[in-house]
Symmetry: C2
């Protein structure tokens, strides 16, 4: 059986692999897990012995098939619990990450499958991230960033790239919720901020920083 900590490393390696080409570096893992590079090195050796990662010294790291399977299992649990916390317990989408970080390590397959059924097989978590299948497949999503949309295009907000409570609360305050329809009206050549119309109603200015963290439908 795998430890809490091992699961966290696998999950983190998976996330980082998706954000860059090629192998994941020791330093980036240290930063993500809030530990020191030396500790990461030790752990990589262990994970490598357990055949959960491909690891050549100084050359970065990549999940094995088994490692990816496990990582996706953890991510599936995390995202299902997030749905539960928001849909059933009424938490805000900015509050659930920390709690789900704990719940994701409860290791009962039966529990996860029953939870999935109870939630009526959700496809996405409250941040619009796809929920891996029980078989360990990550559904693909083809979203663009709002910052890449052209003037006059009409798109729907489907997810966020940034997950910090601060960002999510900012979206709440400005009324940018998942599912909103957005029509892009203007792009500033000065600061790349965009003007959009939300749900055929109010018009809004969105900074480039915000726009490039909003995922929208094709």
């Amino acid at each position: 059986m795998h430890t809490f900590t091992e699961e966290n490393y696998l999950k983190t390696i998976y996330y980082l692999s998706g954000r860059q080409e090629g192998e994941v570096s020791t330093n980036s893992l240290a930063e993500m897990t809030a530990t020191r590079a030396a500790s990461v090195s030790d752990m990589l050796k262990r994970l490598s012995e357990k055949q959960l990662i491909h690891y050549k010294k100084y050359q970065g790291v990549r999940l094995t098939e088994e490692g990816e399977r496990l990582a996706l299992k953890v991510i599936r649990r995390h995202r299902l619990w997030e749905v539960f916390l928001v849909e059933k317990l009424g938490f805000g989408w900015d509050e659930v990450h920390v709690i789900a970080e704990e719940l994701e390590h409860v290791r009962s397959d039966e529990l996860v499958e029953r939870l999935d059924a109870y939630l009526e097989y959700p496809q996405f978590d409250p941040h619009g991230d796809p929920i891996p299948t029980p078989a360990g497949q990550m559904p693909t999503t083809a979203y663009r960033k709002l910052s890449e949309v052209a003037v006059d295009e009409r798109v729907r907000i489907m997810g966020v790239l940034e997950h910090s409570p601060e960002f999510l609360q900012h979206l709440d305050r400005t009324g940018l919720t998942l599912g909103s329809e957005v029509c892009l009206q203007e792009i500033s050549h000065f600061d790349k901020s965009v003007q959009v119309q939300i749900n055929q109603e109010k018009s809004l200015f969105i900074s480039h920083e915000v726009a490039r963290n909003l995922l929208v439908s094709r």
Copy 2:
């Protein structure tokens, strides 16, 4: 903050304290936690330094107020999750203990209180054990064992003393569910088994072993 393991020791000390007079012994803790007495001794020293238990070498152990507060918090979480697993996810009462052992260590007060509300403030877990209050009080229950009921008395099954899946499944198979009304018809002088009538319907023989593990209303 307290570790997983510390929480388990506190919980176990609480349980054992309720089952005997006086202090809890090192050996009984070792048996309950499936560790060795030496390991328990080490841990008791640590818990004592943290002021969570009263501990004098060779003299057994007792929770401090703070220790009891923490133990009850863990038990509250455990029992609320058991209600969730049975009521919402449809698990059997014989299946939930192991999963709740993990869920009980998720340390968010907000989560527990929201879960409590979501479950509509249950008073008892699926085995009839009372759920400690948010303030850290264990509700008192005044139950007898079915083995102590006299002939012709009419009582209601309120809980179980034994929690093993085997025992609970036995009750399921024989139709002895919590809430059933039981009328005691006869007590065998030979083996102390009892004959009862369930819900004014069928009559049933119950062994002494089973009867002394069934809790009934006064």
